[in-house]
Symmetry: C2
């Protein structure tokens, strides 16, 4: 495990992706979102994708030359064909259009299909909230890994949901999570550290609760979070992210792995309601109220988004810890591309 | 416990509310939504409110003569002042405007404040889906009963969320739940039956898990569902339902109990995306896929909305069971109003 400065990793990502034909501006955005995931503590969505996306470029799953294209549009909606461009490029277009249309026409809904993995959802909703709009993302993910409530076997992907609301502090209220008990990345981390997991995350191939993070690789499955209530959100995300947008539903035999993301963004301009300043003030008041609640002994009461801001502050100061295995992958990739990993 | 035909209860509700000055058309809607809650199995939101709402009318919390009024409007948004009309009257207006604007302008967002208790959310989202639009409701509820994740004490109401998606069968995919482990009504039912509750629903006044449903009346509190993930939805619902709409946040000293509901509806016209027929077909396919998943031994895999449809079919056939104590309240109310409860 070594510590790296965010700027260095960001620059390295730009070199890696431009070397594979991605335009510099897009490479900067893509690399920036991955490093931001590390900064905010979501290592599962960070620079580990330098290598994974490079493989997808090599295999033709990601088309570095493709441009997302609006194929259907109204004053407050758009449907985007991602044309298998890097998912972040499509998602950037999607959230920019969502914010623009919400600013002009109060509320907007933008969908995307043929969209590669968009990375950490919170990046986009957080950005939208910083532009003064409320934003939500419903995303379907292929590669079944999660069962349905009371069902046997893998049925859906981790189908994440995200929402952000502006605050007075430029640190939006931010919800961003998989609708499974945990994101798949948390299991990888536990496997790498050879740690046990809580018994309510995963069932083994026989449907028995297990604390072994390897179980999902041996016929087991992740559970949806929150019993039937999280399961409802898991299905809603499939319907809004994929069915409504015309994206792939279930595994895609022609292109998996990796499968695409179906994405739906909804953006609300607070001017239609109390207005931005009142929304910010009211949100700040709720956050203050929550932060002043007495915590359970030995626990903290955190506000959605707070763990991310704390991690970012600390990692900007101390550097981002990168596991040796990830760094080895990156240096190997750099070698192949003729890039000096030490820049 | 006696069984009653839905029609009879509905008619009785109409008599009860018109006797207190509510216009017949509104009384029919109000009574209809309450009986529909019983039919769909949500007795906590059913005819038990004949007496509760009558008290609120008597105490001036519900104004039977008030009309909800749009105080801010664009082509795809509206903000409604409920003027303390019956909450169902305001919510009916809200969802009708949401559907109309979504049909005309693809996506809409409608908020309401000064809105009394709107009852079962699923009534409105389900209706919207039957009109061919996707609908979501975010509702804040006062009268704190639920803690925040890792916090001590009651912090927020049960802040429910609902979403519905059209299907081919006129039985929409329907999500409708409190963001607490269970709705407060489930505790009342357990108390009435003198039953224990699961240990992960409630904490007692000292923050210890308890199986005693009376604990929330003795300084204890309900927990948000799904650990930090349900907690995020609990806060999001407060922000969208109340802060964004300018509704009451936290307890309302002048008017509680009962406190108002802050309501935000979002409606999406599938024509902006794959279109209604493709959405219905795709949703049906997902439902079929889920229904064909092998259940865990001794369990069933249910689709969101299915328990409600099953209950409705059974109760339309066999009648709605009404506890003696509820029926006594209703007959007492009828006596006061000079109505024959046997009609």
């Amino acid at each position: 495990m070594k510590l790296f400065a965010a700027d260095k990793l960001r620059q390295l990502g730009v070199e890696i992706f431009t070397a594979q034909g991605l335009a510099r501006e897009k490479a900067e955005f893509l690399s920036g979102t991955l490093v931001e995931a590390n900064l905010t503590g979501h290592d599962s969505h960070g620079v580990t994708y330098f290598a994974a996306y490079s493989n997808r470029i090599k295999n033709g799953h990601i088309d570095v030359n493709a441009e997302p294209e609006i194929v259907k549009e109204t004053t407050n909606s758009a449907l985007i064909d991602g044309h298998y461009a890097p998912g972040q490029v499509t998602a950037k277009h999607l959230i920019e259009v969502a914010v623009e249309k919400a600013k002009e026409n109060v509320v907007s809904a933008i969908g995307a299909f043929n969209c590669n993995h968009i990375g950490r959802l919170g990046y986009y909703t957080n950005w939208a909230a910083q532009q003064g709009v409320v934003a939500m993302l419903f995303v379907n993910v292929g590669g079944p890994s999660v069962s349905v409530y009371h069902g046997m076997g893998k049925a859906f992907g981790t189908n994440p949901f995200s929402a952000a609301v502006p605050t007075g502090e430029a640190k939006p209220f931010l919800v961003d999570y998989a609708t499974s008990m945990v994101a798949a990345g948390k299991l990888s981390v536990a496997r790498a550290k050879e740690e046990k997991i809580p018994l309510h995350w995963v069932k083994d191939k026989d449907g028995k609760p297990t604390d072994d993070p390897r179980a999902t690789r041996e016929g087991g499955w992740l559970l949806p979070f929150g019993e039937h209530k999280g399961y409802c959100l898991q299905l809603l995300t499939e319907l809004l992210g994929a069915v409504l947008t015309g994206s792939r539903v279930g595994p895609d035999p022609d292109r998996v792995p990796p499968s695409t993301n179906g994405v739906l963004a909804i953006a609300l301009n607070p001017d239609a309601f109390v207005g931005l300043e009142a929304l910010k003030q009211g949100t700040d008041e709720i956050i203050d109220y929550v932060k002043n609640i007495e915590p359970e002994p030995g626990e903290r009461v955190l506000v959605p988004g707070e763990p991310e801001w704390e991690s970012k502050e600390q990692r900007l100061r101390d550097g981002i810890p990168i596991p040796d295995s990830t760094w080895e992958q990156i240096t190997k990739l750099c070698e192949e591309l003729g890039i000096d990993p030490e820049l």
